[in-house]
Amino acid sequence: MIEVKNLKKSFGGKTIIHDASLILKAGHCNLIIGSSGSGKTVLMKCLVGLFQPDSGSILYGGKDYTQMNTEQRKEIRKEIGMLFQGSALFTSMTVEENVIFPLDMFTRDTRKEKMKRVDEVLDRVNLKGANKKFPAEISGGMMKRVGIARSIVLNPKYLFVDEPNSGLDPQTSGLIDKLIKEITDEYQITTVINTHDMNSVMEIGDHIVYMYQGNKEWEGNNKEIIFSKNQRLNDFIFASEFLRDAKDMRQLEETGKISNDRNMAELTHEDAPELVPPSDNDSPE
């Protein structure tokens, strides 16, 4: 579990994180969502130690990361894996060299043991056979998977993922989300994902924190988020086309009509089985 207490961070007099307090649950996919400029990236960089917060504390298993010295931080960092928005692969190294790098740096395993582990994690992210390719020779989705493989090769306790779906098509995004969720469950990692992709939120959001102007505005899970009464959160999530039907459904349930310019004729039985009777076309064969 990671606990954030009264975190504050500002740059050049401009406060980005005001007074954020939140708990990121162990063994779950914790999503930090929010619009651009809401402070979620700064929050994540504070969590992993790339930024030093002005005040507040970040507790990893009860130990305050902000109060640790360099050596103590190094120990915690060995338990952290991170997938960056642009994957951050070492461009001069092959896929295999990228993944073996943390093992070379931090373990005294034999070459054979390291290679076995590399093959294991590459296999886990469905990248068998790509060992000798350079980052420039693989697709964006494959780069993300190499990034995940490199992040988990040392069996981290915490996995941080920054914008996992940026630059990916919806299908690949879905695969990456699924992979992150599977890895989180399989290795019981505390995963923290920074995203504004509502598909990810609905797919893998075990625990969701909504950030608004540097503050935690709402906390819940992917089942509760649709039915939240928080206006700011609603403005954010229903800006997504994906969830407009869900919003309509909720309004229909509550008031019997839709307030926006859409009408019920657009909803199919598949969208709202309780409200729209099946048509002839929808009937099972």
């Binding site: 992993v48 130690g49 790339l50 360099t70 931080r73 190094k74 120990e75 960092r77 060995k78 952290i80 894996g81 991170m82 960056f84 928005q85 642009g86 951050a88 692969l89 070492f90 461009t91 943390p102 070379d104 740096m105 931090f106 941080f160």
Partner: protein, 246 residues
């Protein structure tokens, strides 16, 4: 002025931050050897070409200016020898290397910063100043003086070939002049300059590359700035060392 103070402070912090216990000595050694090869072998052709022709040109131009029959012909090779040892090999080659190596170091680190590779290393628990910057500086300080010694030899050789081939003086006369009034201290002075300049050539671009903020455009700007500042500092250091040691 404030920016200069800020940059100087950050530069000092970077240098201080380089000294920590390596996470894995073998990996640091591997990086050091890689940098030695990149800096040394990578710069060898340009250093060889430049130093050879500088020596050749200095021999021809010295002969052109020494028209008096009272001045012995051997003076030409003495002048070539001393100018190559004292100035051409250490300073001119260092300025060229500031362009070749400096822009490479700044570009490489800048690209790593912009593409978050440095952040990725930091999160792994690696001291990036120690792992990325220190091997570059050590490799430069180790390899560049060797390049400058080679440049000195090739410069004098270039002068000898040019002088004999163009009929300015015979090979024997040139060799005689080389041995006349030779001061070993000049070689020491040349090496002091070589070590000082190699530190400048590596640490200044590393600073600008490591602290790049922004995108691809800033990487280019950082590389240019690194080369310009390195060249200016080399010339200032050249003057200071000459004033102090000669």
């Amino acid at each position: 002025m404030l920016k200069l103070l800020d940059d100087t402070g950050r530069y000092m912090m970077m240098i201080k931050g380089m000294f920590s216990r390596p996470e894995n000595f073998k990996m640091y050694w591997k990086e050091f050897m890689h940098q030695c090869s990149e800096i040394g072998i990578g710069s060898l052709p340009i250093v060889a070409i430049i130093s050879f022709f500088i020596g050749a040109v200095s021999a021809v131009q010295t002969a052109y200016q020494l028209v008096s029959p009272l001045i012995p012909k051997e003076s030409i090779s003495q002048i070539v020898r001393d100018t190559v040892i004292l100035e051409f090999a250490p300073t001119l080659v260092s300025i060229v290397l500031a362009g070749v190596i400096g822009s490479k170091i700044a570009g490489e680190l800048g690209n790593m910063r912009v593409s978050e590779q440095i952040d990725a290393l930091e999160i792994m628990g690696i001291n990036t100043k120690a792992y990325l910057v220190l091997p570059k500086i050590l490799a430069a300080v180790f390899v560049i003086p060797m390049l400058i010694i080679l440049a000195t030899i090739l410069g004098i050789l270039g002068g000898r070939i040019a002088a004999t081939m163009s009929g300015i003086l015979s090979a024997d006369t040139f060799d005689k002049g080389l041995r006349m009034n030779f001061l070993p201290y000049n070689v020491f002075f040349s090496l002091v300059k070589a070590y000082t300049f190699s530190y400048i050539i590596s640490s200044i671009p590393a600073f600008f590359g490591y602290h790049v903020n922004g995108g691809a455009l800033e990487i280019g700007r950082a590389s240019t700035k690194a080369v310009v500042v390195s060249c200016i500092l080399i010339l200032i250091a050249d003057y200071v060392l000459s004033a102090l040691l000669l």
